[in-house]
């Protein structure tokens, strides 16, 4: 139903856009649009380079990709056109032909051509990536890149096919060949061919030379911004970046504001204060306490838009450690956690309690699983069932506390990064709930997220918080549960399961498991198959993996995120509605879709 609503909403936006652009080309234009970039903070000394993680290139404004992904719950290949006006793909995605916008121009007036795309792809190879892997056996790696004409480019996929190839191709960042071209050596494409198809030392040397260009590409600092997007960087300081309209943008008439100001922030509090002061026309997803949200809502023109966000939070187990190797213990903990209570405390505005553990966000799970979703065990709060599970695991009750089968005290340490306040609140709520039921639980924080992830990967934690359900691609979704973190890795194009505690396998789950009504399955192999299976087979695999996740509980799914966006309609109107497929994209992309118009006096 939500999907239908989203499609209907999008159709209405398209209609409105079409109506709005007839006759009155200057209507709804002008002014400075103020927002923040949700993906990064502003670094005034960073180069104007999209390959630099902190570079002063902002997606949708002066940073462009071939296309922008739609927020579809299950299909990763749904995109809005950007530099690519259209594209065609063979059914197995072995060949993709991309047609560029015929009127696309860089901000210096030069046309955007297939050669720019070719150079952009060459630069992407230096950074590595799924579609641009140097290993020809890697799933979904591009094999050939052919410039057909100045606005058409054909790309073929290697032998090891992936159904996310199109999606990965369309996400390619586009940069001007006349600015970045010199970064690639003259014989780059010959070297690439040698690296991909050659054997022995020369091939290895070619690979080393290509990957060796990575730092040079990241560090490259063009003297001025040359953008194919609707805006171009005018100036930047530590407090804000100011972008002005790119007069050569191919759909300039759709762009409402004359300028965009991206404010810097150091934390959520600063974004809350901007919103309360009415400074921002839009702020992307920001975690907000209920009381702060009430204040933001009270600001004149303030509105909250909500939509699907394909991310969930879970409590993950290291199954290589006792007693979490025992599924009864994991189930017992699931029966002892009141997820609604946890969500109320930790993410009252930005999440909904997970209906059960399926590995997928509930919105997507309903589409993937249909009626089978309601057949999964919901693991509602049930201390009696938990006690039965703990007894089945051999745990003993000593006084008012549960102890390990050997009689030693059982202490559950829940690990979270200190910088995630919602996770800390959730972990504390879980520890309180478990303690109420005789399970001695404490919260342990790691100084920052990077340290947390490294300690988690090193297998130092028994139980920790984990992001999951990262859709819409089902392969990406289940990679979080049955991928590298749980021991399944690709070695030379072959899937292997490594021993717990090695090669980043911190989840330590078994290689195969018995699933009621299905038999013995290898969840990692099934997950890997998702990357190239047909739509019908994908549905079947997702059904099996949801069942595996629900029965085996490698994680306990706690809450599913809701994308909560803040907009202020005092200065601009035409923002996407609730559940819009464009909701997770930047305001710059909304403008490209003709959504943001200046409020008429």
């Amino acid at each position: 139903m939500k999907r239908l609503a989203a499609i209907a909403a999008l159709a209405s936006i398209a209609t409105a856009t079409a109506c709005g652009s007839t006759g009155q080309e200057n209507a709804g234009q002008g002014g400075i649009y103020t927002t923040i970039d949700g993906s990064k903070q502003i670094n005034a000394s960073a180069p104007i380079n999209p390959f630099n993680p902190v570079g002063s290139v902002f997606d949708g404004y002066n940073g462009m990709a071939l296309a922008w992904p739609k927020n579809d719950p299950i299909d990763p290949n749904q995109f809005y056109p950007a530099i690519a006006r259209s594209w065609t793909s063979s059914p197995d995605q072995s060949e993709v032909v991309i047609h560029l916008q015929p009127n696309a121009r860089w901000s210096d007036g030069k046309p955007v051509t297939s050669e720019d795309i070719r150079v952009s792809i060459g630069l992407a190879y230096t950074q590595g990536g799924t579609a641009y892997a140097l290993d020809p056996k890697a799933a979904g790696a591009a094999a050939t890149i052919q410039v057909v004409d100045p606005t058409t480019i054909r790309i073929t996929q290697g032998a090891n096919k992936s159904n996310t190839f199109l999606s990965n191709l369309l996400s390619t960042v586009v940069v001007p060949a006349h600015v970045y071209g010199s970064l690639l050596p003259r014989d780059f494409w010959q070297k690439l061919k040698l690296a991909q198809d050659g054997k022995g030392k020369p091939a290895e040397q070619a690979k080393t030379e290509i990957t060796g260009l990575a730092d040079k590409v990241i560090g490259f600092a063009p003297r001025q911004d040359v953008s194919a997007g609707p805006f171009v960087l005018e100036r930047i300081n530590p407090g804000a970046a100011l972008l002005k309209r790119n007069p050569y943008f191919y759909d300039s008439k759709l762009i409402g504001p004359d300028k965009v100001e991206l404010l810097n922030y150091t934390g959520n509090q600063q974004i809350w204060n901007y919103l309360i002061a009415g400074k921002l026309d839009n702020a992307p997803f920001t975690s907000v306490p209920s009381a702060v949200l009430d204040r933001i809502r009270a600001v004149r023109g303030s509105q909250v838009i909500k939509g699907f966000s394909p991310v969930s939070t879970s409590l993950a187990f290291n199954q290589a450690r006792k007693p979490y190797d025992n599924v009864h213990v994991r189930r017992a903990l699931a029966y002892l956690i009141d997820r609604a209570q946890v969500t109320k405390i930790a993410a009252p505005e930005g999440g909904t309690p997970s209906l059960t553990t399926s590995g997928i966000h509930a919105e997507a799970a309903k589409v993937w699983l249909g009626s089978a979703f309601s057949g999964l065990d919901p693991y509602r709060l049930d201390p009696a069932k938990a006690a039965a599970e703990l007894k089945a695991a051999g745990m003993t009750r000593r006084g008012n506390k549960w102890a390990l089968p050997d009689g030693k005290p059982w202490k559950v340490e829940i690990h979270v990064p200190a910088s995630f306040s919602d996770w800390i609140s959730a972990a504390k709520s879980i520890s309180s709930q478990l303690t109420d039921h005789g399970v001695d639980a404490t919260v342990v924080t790691a100084a920052d997220y990077t340290l947390y992830l490294s300690e988690l990967a090193a297998g130092k934690y028994d139980v920790g918080f984990w992001l999951m359900g990262l859709g819409p691609s089902p392969y990406n979704i289940y990679q979080r549960l049955y991928g590298q973190a749980n021991g399944w890795q690709m070695f030379g194009g072959r899937l292997e399961h490594v021993a717990p505690g090695t090669e980043g396998n911190w989840m330590g789950g078994p290689e195969t498991v018995d699933v009621a009504g299905v038999g013995r399955v290898d969840p990692g192999a099934l997950t890997s198959r998702l990357s190239f299976a047909s739509a019908g087979e994908q549905k079947q695999i997702v059904g099996t993996l949801a069942k595996v996740s629900n029965e085996q509980l490698p994680v306990i799914q706690l809450w599913d995120y809701v994308n909560t966006q803040f907009v202020n309609t005092s200065r601009y109107t035409g923002f996407p509605p609730d559940d819009s497929e464009a909701l997770r994209l930047s305001s710059g992309v909304w403008m490209q879709l003709g959504m943001i118009r200046k409020r008429q006096a």
Binding site: G267, N268, Q269, W272, N273, I276, V288, P289, S290, A291, V292, D294, R295, Q341, K344, I345, V416, A418, S419, S421, D422, I424, S425, A427, K428, S429, S432, T435, D436, V443, V444, T445, A447, L451
Partner: protein, 303 residues
């Protein structure tokens, strides 16, 4: 011929009399200004809170799921936190860690600083040079960044561990000051006399020098407690130390970053309660230091 019999006073009796006189003097000084008495009451109150506070509440503090961030009321004087737990209960049960850390830090700071300062000042020469370079090194170490780095490898679960690190980082200032005082005192007549009598170094340092510096050392010890409270609360506030819901620094962190206390009034009591506790503790210590100044400084006493 008359013989005057002078009653024999044993050393023990003399000391007892001195002690009695000293405490009478202390009482007089405290009574002179009510603020000083208030300081003693505050610090004693915190000490009692640290010792018996956690015994007044169950190990798992009660929560009210329907009163998250509840405003102050008779039932919850400082409202409730994100879980519906009474904020005052959190402050009281969290006092033990804060005070123990402060105490451990103060003891280590003063013990190390005094020992090194006394030894360096009394011995002079090579020992003085070596120990003062060590002190310079200690003073040059940027405490907070070092603690931030240390927190990535050390979890500081016990207040003694925390106090040990803070103490090891903070003795430099005391050592320098004690050395200066020692250098000054060692030239005085009574020390010369003690040396002339051939008294051992241990006696000169322990019985002659140390008592003269005791007031200064005692005041430094109290000030070190406040320093330690700020340092550890700051580290917990930054979120680099282990999570403990009733730690005052963690409470400040959650009030600001989770509850939005600086943006809306809903979580303000949750922020103010630990702040007020820190303020009161500091105030109590400062008032006692004021009293100590008069107790140990004869010139002030005469006024």
């Amino acid at each position: 011929m008359t013989v005057t019999v002078i009653p024999e006073m044993t050393a023990g009796t003399t000391r007892a009399t001195l002690r009695r006189n000293f405490w009478r003097g202390v009482w007089r000084v405290l009574c002179r200004k009510p603020s000083r008495m208030a300081g003693v009451v505050i610090v004693l109150g915190f000490a009692v809170m640290g010792v018996i506070g956690p015994l007044l509440y169950p190990a798992n503090l009660p929560r009210d799921d329907n009163a998250l961030y509840a405003p102050p009321s008779l039932q919850h004087l400082f409202g409730t936190d994100f879980e519906g737990t009474d904020v005052l209960a959190l402050v009281i049960t969290g006092a033990r860690y804060v005070l123990l850390t402060g105490l451990a830090t103060a003891v280590i700071t003063v013990a190390l600083g005094t020992a090194i300062g006394l030894f360096a000042g009394f011995r002079r020469g090579r020992w003085d040079s070596a120990l003062m370079r060590l002190t310079d090194l200690n003073l040059a170490i940027p405490g907070l960044p070092l603690l931030l780095v240390l927190s990535t490898v050390w979890k500081f679960t016990s207040p003694i561990e925390m106090g040990l690190v803070l103490g090891l980082l903070g003795w430099g200032g005391v050592a320098r000051a004690v050395r200066s005082q020692t250098l000054s005192l060692r030239e005085r007549g009574f020390i010369e006399a003690a040396r002339g009598l051939g008294l051992p170094t241990r006696h000169i340092i322990g019985r002659e020098l140390l008592p003269s510096m005791a007031p200064y050392i005692a005041m430094n010890m109290l000030i070190a407690v406040t320093g330690a409270v700020y340092a550890q609360v700051g580290l917990f506030f930054l979120g680099v130390l282990p999570f403990d819901a009733n730690n005052w620094g963690v409470m400040l962190n959650l009030a600001v970053f989770s509850g939005g206390a600086l943006t809306t009034p809903a979580a303000l009591p949750y922020l103010l309660a630990p702040l007020l506790a820190i303020l009161l503790l500091t105030l109590g210590i400062v008032l006692i230091v004021d009293a100590m100044d008069e107790i140990f400084n004869p010139r002030l006493r005469e006024e």
